[in-house]
Subunit: 471 residues, 2 copies
């Protein structure tokens, strides 16, 4: 890039209409963005959570260290209340590093990169070796039937669809293989399952993730692992050349009894409507292979920073604002379930809940799960976000952890960052701090804070002037 005649965009402030917000709102939103970009704490927090604590699977020592860290950091913010909400969580342990190879003839083998899926059984002692049948999904598996599947390792190799712009759609169209593949293959007599990693990129990282055996008895359960995209292509190619080749893998993972853990909650009490709650959150647990920086360290530190940025911007909320660091989103959703049960039990009126669990990338907007009336309200605020290149306000889902709070009168929503790179890192060993850009992370925190500011100030239609509902 040459410096002369260089393009400079002049971002003109969005035209302020008289509907739904005021000039002072634009100034307040601008202050929030500037504060986050110059004085945010998201990045520093994420550095600690990623590099000093690291991967934090539910039930692990690191998960408990993350709980203590979250509580201590929230306590430093001078909130009205910080506490731990107990919840029992599953404990699954990966064991020694997995090992796998493709064997063309005895003694002639190629090592490949795999990782056990979360919740999988171990292989038998000494590992498992069998012939392989490749299928492009569960439907094709069922077509093959027991005759072709029995005694074999089933290799699910349907790739994520590259044509879709929203990579979460590609994921949604593919992940059934990982989640239910082993259960379905076991019913047909398979001895193991290998799944192509949920990754749009060709590389060497296997991507783990949750799976289920459904109601299968323990004796029928078979081990399942993910293979890197490069090695999925290799295996497929070798099978086309010779479908009598064998696959060997060894993994020692194990499920233990549930253990005690916690959601971490920090609250600023509302000055006018203390029983109207606004929740922002992400999940504190992560998979164990990387640092969980994007999934979901980013959402954790952004949610914590929303409280801090509100205070730093001089905003005294009318409604009670909570940051919730949910435990066990990845393999059980126990924290979210517990939080929503307790909210119902106490009659807390959750008017708005916003989740960040799509990575720390440049924010593009939000998806909203709410009534048309509520959606029309938020659309009025969209021009306030235009100077920050936030353009995506769409009806759609929210997020796994805030979804249970939906009650028909309120608004649940999700932050929507740029999704192109998310699955490069998702559930893999390269989901680490260095993959997160400071400014992109901070823009996300500011975008969340600005929306919380507006919902706090104006309340949530159509219930804002009506008697409070017990949900």
């Amino acid at each position: 890039m040459f410096i002369m005649n260089k393009f400079i965009t002049s971002i003109s402030l969005a035209l302020i209409t008289t509907l739904g917000f005021s000039q002072s709102d634009q100034e307040q939103v601008d202050k929030i963005y500037k504060t986050s970009l110059t004085n945010g704490q998201s990045y520093e927090w994420l550095d600690y959570l990623s590099n000093q604590i690291g991967g934090r699977l539910s039930g692990s020592l690191n998960a408990e260290r993350a709980v203590q860290w979250g509580k201590e950091e929230l306590e430093k913010l001078g909130l009205d209340k910080v506490w731990l909400q107990p919840v029992m969580v599953p404990k699954w342990v990966r064991g020694v590093t997995e090992y796998a190879y493709i064997e063309t003839t005895p003694g002639n083998s190629t090592v490949v990169n795999i990782c056990a899926l979360g919740g999988s059984m171990a292989t038998p002692y000494g590992g498992l070796k069998a012939n392989v049948i490749e299928v492009n999904g569960i439907d094709e598996l069922k077509e093959q039937g027991e005759a072709n599947v029995k005694g074999k390792i089933v290799f699910f190799n349907r790739p994520m669809d590259e044509q879709l712009i929203n990579t979460f759609q590609s994921y949604g169209g593919c992940v059934d293989q990982r989640y239910a593949g082993a259960m379905e293959a076991a019913k047909l007599g398979a001895v193991g399952v290998i799944v192509r990693s949920m990754n749009l990129r060709m590389d060497d990282y296997p991507h783990t993730g949750s799976m289920t055996y459904g109601d299968l008895p323990l004796s029928k359960r078979i081990p399942a692992a993910a293979i890197s995209t490069n090695h999925a292509e290799l295996l497929s190619h070798m099978l086309r050349l010779d479908n009598s080749i064998k696959f060997y893998f060894n993994q020692t993972c194990k499920q233990f009894k549930d253990v005690q853990s916690y959601n971490v909650i920090g609250e600023i009490k509302g000055s006018e409507f203390p029983n109207e709650y606004i929740v922002i959150g992400g999940h504190l647990d992560s998979w164990d292979l990387g640092d969980g920086a994007h999934d979901d360290g980013a959402g954790i530190v952004q949610s914590m920073d929303v409280l801090r940025l509100l205070k730093a911007s001089g905003i005294k909320p009318k409604r009670s604002i909570r940051a919730v660091l949910f435990m066990n989103e990845e393999n059980g959703l126990r924290g979210a379930t517990k939080y929503s049960e307790e909210a119902k039990r106490k009659g807390e009126n959750h008017v708005f809940a916003l989740e960040s669990d799509s990575g720390g990338f440049t924010p593009r907007g939000f998806s909203f799960d709410c009534s048309d009336a509520n959606f029309n309200q938020v659309l009025q605020w969209k021009p306030l976000f235009e100077p920050y290149l936030i353009h995506y306000f769409e009806k759609g889902g929210s997020g796994a952890d805030v979804g249970p709070l939906k009650n028909g009168n309120n608004v649940v929503a999700g932050l929507r960052p740029d999704s192109q790179r998310y699955f490069d890192y998702h559930h893999a060993a390269n989901d680490t701090f260095d993959a997160v850009n400071k400014r992109e992370l901070e823009l996300g925190a500011a975008t969340m804070t600005a929306l919380v500011y507006l919902y706090d100030k104006y309340g949530v239609n159509p219930i804002k002037n009506e008697p409070k509902l017990k949900d």
Copy 2:
């Protein structure tokens, strides 16, 4: 991220109005995007250009290798014409790796990371050591005056403004120090200049870039180098503790005579209006420290892929479409100057020119430099881009290489990718292939191709039905 209840955006196709485009245009645009994401060649080309050729400063052997490569690859596409357009370019050579340290007391020194600015003089044989005066820009330099500056190294340390959303604005507000700092400091008797790198991130990479001595005679010119942001902070901190510390640097860079080089041009001849030209381009030269993958390998391969994607999508252009790989954008703009001179001389009517020179990141839209009538035309097409999350259509600048083609009747434009990470890599050793995401690059190529398709089909108002103008 947990798989159940997971958000899936349903991108609804933009509502098609009857103004300015048809349903078949949406289908054609969709085909272009899908082709780029599944069968694009941008990424493969960029791999070669970055990893097999590498940095390619004007006048270098690598720049000539890039010219030959570009010509050969364009020839493989089966275009109507591929040729080299000769242009003389400056040749500046960095010499041996620069070396610098901060000396608190004789023998007590700290090595810091610098790189010579492009076009700088060498230091005297054996290097240069002097006291340092820190200033926040050229204005403060002038306030200090000759009495405080003479015999010293001037340290320009104004950081890029973190508060701006568009990082090119931050760059524009800061780069005068780098471009003109040495010239202004020399006038006041300074012996050297050190400039804080144009980088929003704190890291260890010095960032080079162009500079000028204006009309200063050779004997008055002083050497100038950039220092990494981390070491700029260190130097500033040490100066606050003790302003008598000294700075040493050594660089052996040298300006040679101009040498022969080339723009590379590939053309599809228009079937109906062969003398109406649409140009897409980027610059083939790069700085020498990294691979020039983002600046501007990305723009080169995207421009080449526009021609390929048009053909692959079955589009037979009515107007002549040219991809121009401009030489010498970084330190002279000789290629762009030559191209526009030749176009004028031949009476070629350039109706639309689009540049990609802002990195290979997720595209957000375009900036247009054109009349209001022409801008209103392109705004009608904006809904066609919404399914691909392209939302930014703004009046503003275009780009250094296509700017000279502006004539008052036509449209010149620039692709606008997400700008948050651009200056992390810009002109530094980490501008390498691995910093580019395949999908983000391909989305940019598709976005450019779609706009070219529309301008080719509908022409450029208000001149489309008028006699062709000689510009």
